[in-house]
Symmetry: D3
Subunit: 324 residues, 6 copies
């Protein structure tokens, strides 16, 4: 089972200029073979299917716990895509019969507008859906870990290339964070393989052969030590991470550490309605009125109980201009 | 973000006679269009993409929170499949070059053995992978809820049919539980639509038109009131479920209630190694030795820290006989 | 536009012993690359996309008109599959929680029961869905016709093999009819190519190299001359078929003839409910009562206005026994 | 069986400026999950697979008859796409080795030119093929109708968004018509569910929550009452539509009516050859000569017997300029 | 470019009892994610796309040359499947209208009979087609090699499991050979990574953790030293293999050696016609007569010039009995 | 088995201006239904599966031998795509964190950059992967040849259209060559069908109806007689091609001839590193140093043993400017 926390693992900038072509590229990090859907689901299935887990507990805990972090990563990729699509039709307006989507005809992934509500989808940069055949869960611990090390390597490759292709602030903030955190997972699987086989995979770092600290957007996270911390994403379980996650970081030599609990993170940005795509409705104020009435009936306080990032002024400044 | 709890949402029986053909059928509840991967990912993406969530908070909380429960459901489906595959090759033995898989040639989904380690996969009953194109996230709240009501209806259909097709104890325990819990979600989405549109969808229950309480395996859960409880799967968030989840249950008239927190659940069964498929290894005792050494180095207690269900005696009685 | 006639192109036997494994094989004729979905959709799209049709009218009429017949062929394949699946769960009974589908666990295409209501689906014999990528519509008349000749050749191959694999009476009646009618289309496209290129494709018949009249189930249709008749499936259009469809039949030398209108055909069999799969409902009598009330309100006659084949006695004799 | 009428359900404008990027978007209405291929094939298979149809005749007639109208809708979507692609290479010219397709490199769906002859394909806006897995045919009448209501809701969403994205005259004429006619089907399935369950689904209209009459291009059809008419697409069958299709329209309160027969429609536009893509040939005049000779041999009149829209002058004015 | 040699890389036994269910399983080694189509195409594309190859020649030569061997491996997998399917319909007989395929209804992959001529297809054990998305060609040498090492590990896993599942003599001969040769490739990629990164991947062998020499069918090949030989599959190129392929074998410590040229191999078995599936024709003797006439016209010798294995007597003993 | 020759079948120009949108289109010739992957794999599987080959030797030799040439064709398509992608990021530079891929955001197939290293992939122009379901291997010789003739016809269509769409020098050189060589295969299969059936398929040439010699880029190859030569791609096998490949060319009447051996071809171009996509590494000089050391250890000569085309000066002139 999981508990869900309505916060993001890191802060992302509020929406700025829309960038649907960039959002199309970022989809690779969501639904591509090496995207976060793949890391989430590979580790999740491997943890479900782990036989003899009690006798191999540290390895089980490692995989199961990293799976939990990956949920937060698909959340961040989605948030980034959503942010980049915001304003691609007029904010809070653009109701049909206006031709509010004519500017995005032929730009980016058409499903962002025709299927979705200017929102993220489980597809890759080509618009092809993520598929369960991306999951490798052989049940053989050494093979699964070998796969996971390779998967994280491919993921790091893709993040670096998306970084180079998309300079939208949200995409840069995303890739900066994911490079650091994915790097932790890459090290974790290499480390587990080292314990199991004796092969010194640490020597393969960094791969691709660019040190993470060369990426400016990684720096704030590195300075907070996030490149050497493995969070324990559970109220009480997965205590044995420390049996695997210890020793020196293969790139920096600093000590690897387990952090007991999730990152503090940041409240999510509440993105504005896009009535042209009926999100959350053609007339969002109707939804709001009904919601408010239901809240009152249920004795809830006047203000919504959930926390979101402050940001209306930033959104207010958006000119809604599309620069594909 | 999520926190993961290493417990199952409900108790499942320990492995008994293997049933790979049954496991193939149960896969529909995992990776089929209406399987738990679909409910999990539909609600997850809808929650990620929810625009103007602050003003529509009760509906956002509903979708985001049900998404969290669905993770526990893919966990249970996987556990069931894994249990049904256990013993299909000799328990704790069957190492190559023995022909330990010759009995399952032509039985069930060959990927359970050739790709996986007698374990669950994100595929449907045909062996076709789950695909991201099963996700509907239009951003239009009323449409998304209409979809979700339909999705849960299709899911209930599939659970009932799997119930009729597979009488393995694990499958029956699974479908009994999922029918009750999926029924809650079906009602929840109908209820949300009622609030938003005024259409009295409660009149459509039960659909398919068989009352849940006719299924014997649902009875224990109904008697505990699980058919009218919506769990809040979060330490602190999604407080506004009560604004939507209230009033009478459409079938029984009993009051709908929000439970503050997840179900107590049950510890997972630690399934035995299947060396014929190298799960967790061709020689599992090697893994165990390394794990034990690492645990000691890390100062962990002698016994594994994680809790699993008692069950060795039950497993010990397994004859490993395959009755497809 | 089309008008629909609620009759089958030929008579099919009433349900007899169920044969789900056979139904799985017959699906190749529905949703396989060379199945009737493919012939229907290839010719339909080619007719939609035909440029300069007015100056090439006889060829346009030929393709557009054969497309119309193919609709009747997917109807017949579906009817055959439905017939073969009838009785695989108890007729008019088998309501959950009975294990009414346990006999078909591991037999045939699981989607026939789990996704469908013991009914046909647009899938092939592997359970893979028909895909739009099976459509070839290049716009080049000679190429499209070359494709169509090849498509009909592959279709004839598949029909013959399904004939050899499945000896269920419904499957034999189906393949006997389709071999004759598909043979007409194969000749028609060869003939069109002959007119356009001068290549004497008639010399390639029969291909595969078994004369149609060797198949006993083809004989009744051959004796009625169906192997040399092209029906005109339109109240008033496609008058120019005769410009292409004339001359001697390549196998028999008999004259090719256009029949002005569709075949008389036969009324469809009204298949009995299968409550185990909720078709048409868990409690079909409820549907019947509502329908009857609506009919009365609308001033319709006491008896249903639609014609179906007589067959209750035959159905009554069905033991519902499954012989996979 | 079907009869085919060589007319379009409504009039579409003759080709004007080519718009391949718009044509790519319109493909969503053809081969997308909610496109017309999906409505056609869902209702067709549901009608094929309807068990106990005689006792539920009004519902069977409803589904079977709407299926028939949907054929006319894929025809109109194809015609629109074909029109929008016309002129994207030089009309009646552009023979290789000219670089006649260089202007469309990187514009729209490359298959419109490389695979097709500037013609429609069974693909969606991403260029992904329509798949049989889009068909839901559970056999359970209430579930199938629930699906169909949802399907039409998603289809209406997609039509509105394509309207907003593509302002080409052909696309606007298409979406204006389909919104009205699809709206009828959406009401029809809601109405059927109301009769069967008592749930007042009419309250959910319009969904998406924009009244159809806000769309200018819908107005001519609304003024002719097309939003409340269900055509009976059969010479003699499906007489029991009136048992379901009656009462007030959920949006306007006007009475719902059955029209006995198809709409008069309009003759199709005969689109000009595009020799750059060999449609209908590299040298279309060769095809025309052969056709004329065959027509004479067959004793057909001098002029083609099929009717097409007048339009050469309009086509003559086309500058063939591409404005992507 | 390639030159083709009409010999198999190793000897396979002549057809014995047919085993279509086994053939279905062996397809995983052809068209599965880790099948020989994948190894062939991954290395082929990596060699095509190798940038700066002149300066990295030994690595380029390694990948390009192993690609060449993989062609011989898909050939052997196909030969095995074909052999296992031989006799599943009557040898040299079974012409329609006989029900010659009724024994294989519901057995194995239906496409082996309905689509193919009792022959291999580029599909996996589920009947799902091989896809180009299985190819990883990042252009980054270290990543490509990491992938290749993982790919060969997964391939070894699959071969071992097919070995355990299918005890047909042809399947055993195949897997025995492929385990040895694939093992060479697994070592080769590990070795290349060792040179490039310094990580001692040799410590990971064997993976899966069963020594190859435990498999009896590997013994003949090991005794010939095939586990430590890398063949150079080129008349004159790929001379620099020796720069990477040297040093001790990670399991046995024996020296790795380059063999200049391909293995001698064995002539292919000429499998008998299966007229039930029209292979090579419904009436194979017609083909033979035409071929003989053409050979004479061309001045070719009386006997075919190509060499095939002696085997008629073995084939003559086949009872054609099917033991699924 | 195959031997590989490290030469291209024909000369291609060195990289000039990058053209990623053109490269996207050229992918149709690689991974499309009618691309070279399809011709390669269709003929390869047909040759593997050929039953009774000894008695039908000339036809077996024909198919097996053409398969061998097709390998050289996928090599040329890949080389063309690679050439067209060269320079799309800065040559020999562009290391992250530079935004070196921002110019190709939204241009062409994103997988060329995000998944690949500016290199070819087994995908079509839509970015959809090649699939094994494109392979037709029925085992029936006449049907397989009919398919092959149709496949080559579709391939010729696609080559001509890519020619018209992409005027990049590499694409023109490629299509010029492939049109001539694919034309040979189209004739070969027609010829084989003529021998087997007596149908004079030669009358269908050219199809599409544009003579190959109208394409200027075909002229050099026609002048060398390549349109009438069938190369024998084997050191010693496939001697019986001459029994089928003889007589007059259907378009020119010139005699068809078998060439004993492969074309001389040309050395491949060694494309420069693209460090932005880590091809062959983020720091290619590291790879070069290691390679050089290994070469020395192995006693290889100072200079690489493999031959590549001269071309540094040409590459040096590249401004790296992107003109999409």
């Amino acid at each position: 089972m999981i508990l869900r926390i309505d916060r993001w693992g890191t802060e992302l900038p509020p929406p700025s200029d829309p960038d649907p072509a960039g959002a199309q590229a970022v989809q690779e990090l969501m639904g591509g073979r090496f995207g976060e859907m793949s890391t989430l689901m590979n580790y999740t299935f491997q943890s479900f299917n782990f036989r003899g887990r009690q006798k191999a507990r540290p390895f089980y805990d490692l995989i199961a716990n990293i799976a939990a972090e990956e949920f937060g990563h698909i959340e961040l990729v989605a948030a980034t895509i959503n942010s980049m699509l915001t304003g691609a039709s007029p904010i809070d307006d653009g109701r049909a019969p206006k031709a509010s989507l004519s500017d995005v005809k032929g730009i980016g992934n058409p499903h962002h507008f025709l299927a979705g509500g200017q929102g993220a989808l489980p597809q890759d940069s080509r618009g092809n859906p993520w598929t369960g055949d991306y999951v490798f869960s052989s049940g053989d611990l050494v093979e699964d870990l070998t796969h996971n090390f390779f998967l994280e390597t491919g993921a790091r490759n893709n993040k670096l290339k998306v970084y180079e292709m998309v300079d939208h602030p949200a995409a840069r903030a995303l890739t900066g964070y994911l490079l650091v955190r994915g790097g932790v997972h890459q090290v974790a699987y290499a480390r587990a393989l080292e314990w199991l086989t004796g092969a010194n995979l640490s020597k393969m770092f960094p791969t691709p052969r660019i040190p993470t600290d060369k990426i400016p957007e990684c720096q704030p996270h590195i300075q907070q030590g996030l490149h050497r911390k493995l969070y324990r994403f559970s109220p009480s379980d997965y205590q044995e991470l420390i049996a695997v996650w210890n020793g020196p970081h293969p790139e920096t030599g600093e000590p690897l550490e387990v952090e007991q609990g999730p990152p503090e993170g940041a409240p999510p940005v509440d993105l504005p309605p896009q009535p042209a795509v009926f999100a959350p409705d053609y007339a969002p104020e109707e939804i709001a009125q009904i919601a408010q009435r239901l809240r009152q009936q249920a004795g809830l306080p006047e203000e919504p109980t959930g926390e979101v990032a402050e940001g209306p002024s930033a959104l207010g400044r958006m000119a809604g201009k599309l620069t594909p």
